[in-house]
């Protein structure tokens, strides 16, 4: 096989592995919030265990990327592609950690009930997952416009976080006995807000891959 062809294969494999890693993270985010909604400790434990797979995959991608750079000496766009994929996999792995963090909060509840029915928190998760999916669409289609648009949706998630923050604060002020559970929910919301932020980082990397410019998009307010 010609060198170029096998290099193209390696690049495709790197990108595909990143997409698969993203799918695992997407599932982790969804199931962690579901586990929280039903306080399903078995599901939470599964998610925490599965995070190890996510970490392992990310290291595999990193290794493959480094090997490709070392053996193929890519330049220009190919080099940018590999570096962007590397960074994206790191962001994804951090997002997986946040999801596992939410699962841990399920376990923290022990026998206690949720402080209140979850309304805005699942919405934050939905936004985050939708943003993640679209950012990868932008990667696959090499679409700068889409990447920029997705990054701007981070504002919606930040707004929801504000709302959740204020609501939980009122709970805590009214009844100090709720502080524990309110704080846990606040952490969950914070994790989801950070997840959305990481997606904007992914969008930055996608734009970098296509244009070669690294611009900061949507600086977070937190």
């Amino acid at each position: 096989m010609s060198g170029r062809l096998s290099f193209e294969r390696d690049l495709q494999r790197l990108q595909d592995d990143t997409l698969l890693l993203a799918s695992m993270v997407d599932q982790a985010i969804g199931s962690s919030v579901d586990a929280l909604r039903h306080l399903d400790t078995a599901a939470a434990e599964r998610i925490i265990r599965a995070d190890r797979d996510i970490n392992a995959r990310r290291f595999a991608i990193e290794e493959a990327a480094i090997t490709t750079i070392a053996t193929q000496h890519p330049i220009a766009r190919d080099l940018r592609t590999i570096i962007a994929v590397l960074h994206i996999s790191v962001e994804l792995e951090r997002m997986g950690d946040y999801a596992a963090g939410i699962a841990r909060i399920v376990l923290m509840h022990g026998d206690q009930e949720l402080l209140k029915p979850l309304v805005d928190i699942p919405r934050m998760a939905d936004y985050g997952r939708s943003m993640l999916r679209q950012s990868l669409d932008a990667l696959v289609a090499r679409d700068t416009t889409l990447a920029i648009k997705v990054a701007s949706e981070d504002d919606l998630v930040d707004a929801l976080y504000d709302q959740v923050y204020r609501e939980l604060l009122t709970y805590m002020i009214q009844d100090p006995r709720t502080i524990d559970r309110a704080t846990w929910l606040l952490w969950v919301a914070h994790n989801l807000e950070r997840i959305a932020d990481r997606v904007t980082n992914i969008c930055e990397r996608v734009v970098f891959l296509i244009t070669g410019h690294l611009n900061e998009m949507n600086a977070s307010s937190y």
């Binding site: 990108q15 595909d16 997409l19 698969l20 993203a22 799918s23 029915p117 309304v119 999916r133 696959v140």
Partner: protein, 484 residues
Amino acid sequence: MFTRIQWRIAAAYVILIVTVLLALGIYLINSVRDQSLRTPEDLAFVVGAAMGVAVVLAILMAILITRTTIEPIDRLIQVAQRMAEGDLDQAIQVGSQDEFGQLASVFQNIALDLRQKMAAIENQRAEVAAILGGMADGALIVDDEGRVVAMNRAAEQMLEIDEATAQGRTVTEVVRHHALVARLTDAPSADVPLVVEVGRDRRQVQVVVTPVRVGKATRQVVLLQDVTALRHAEAIRRDFVANVSHELRTPLASLRALVETLEDGALEDPPAAREFLGRMHVEVDGLSHMVEELLELARIESGRVHLQFTRADVGQVVASAAERLRPQAERQGITLRIAIPEDPVEAAIDAQRLQQVVINLVHNAIKFTPPGGTVSVAVESRNLYVAIVIADTGIGVAPEYVPRLFERFYKADRSRASSGTGLGLAIVKHLVQAHGGHVWATSPGEGQGTTFTVVVPARGPTGPGESSTRALTDHFGELGRLTV
């Protein structure tokens, strides 16, 4: 022995040679007779001239022969070229009976044969495409390099990508699901069914991967079966069974405790015994009530309840039903407002069942509204439908629970040990549907009240398309969350 063309060519040359030799011979004989040939040089001259003529004639003949031979070959070459380019419908002249004629007729047969085979293949291809295209299941075909070769329309919809974009891309880029891709690459272990979520609506899809040999290549056919509805039905059934057992367990446990207390000696204490018997009575009533409602629900769902439809003034029917709940409303400090039009609003209804619906909804509204609130009941005519709107200023419903309101045993506040079976709204839904109508609930959110709307067709449940959701949406525009 000699083919016909060879005969012709041979004959032509024989004629040529014979003619030349004959002419030469005749000339020579005459020359000898009239002694015009005297020297060897003269003879050489004559023979040379004859040879020259012979050569010229031979060349001319050769040109003539090759032209008449090449021409049909040229024509056949053209025909063959056009056939190679796909034009199988040419008329091939079969002129002569010779080898060219044979060749031409063979070509004709080949063309005919090809035409038939192509038509058959095209038919088969169209048939397969129609089957794939019409399948409800999604199908994806992946080659041995992991790239998508083809996908059908159902797959396009499920995966939210169209075939033209997907072709040539890796299956990872198209499907984006790690478990699904793993199914393709890993050897299928046990026949553990794989169900994944795809698409924006998070539809649940069962994945079946089948390897297929096509000539020397191996392809994988990925079948995607939408099992969302199936799973949802299973979940509802599971919940139902769990709920029924749970609901029955509590009153039965109380009864058991009361009976055991009586057996253990409370019988000796008449006042206590009477009190216990009273409580047992209450529990038994509750159980009977629940069983009654369950049976009612089952009867309605299986269509064994016959509604009697007569034309009646819906306003009157609704008002009298709602009025029955006024004492309860007053007891709970709630204002009950009933607004019906002055003119009768007629429709074909089962008055008794519709009253059941209204009582159920108003009772709920009162139950879930704190003291000082308002429950309003209104009847209005909306084109071909009659609408009954029951609104309250009560605890409202969170958006994600609105679609579940009408499920059996669904109770608004799980943590409250509230009275009631949770079956009321399910019964309401079925009774309204039996009228050919629809019922739905909207709520701005928790703490912001709820509005239930019932619409029944004025003509009764016989009109076609009246219970189609689309028709209703077109009719009423925004419907909030259509729950039924």
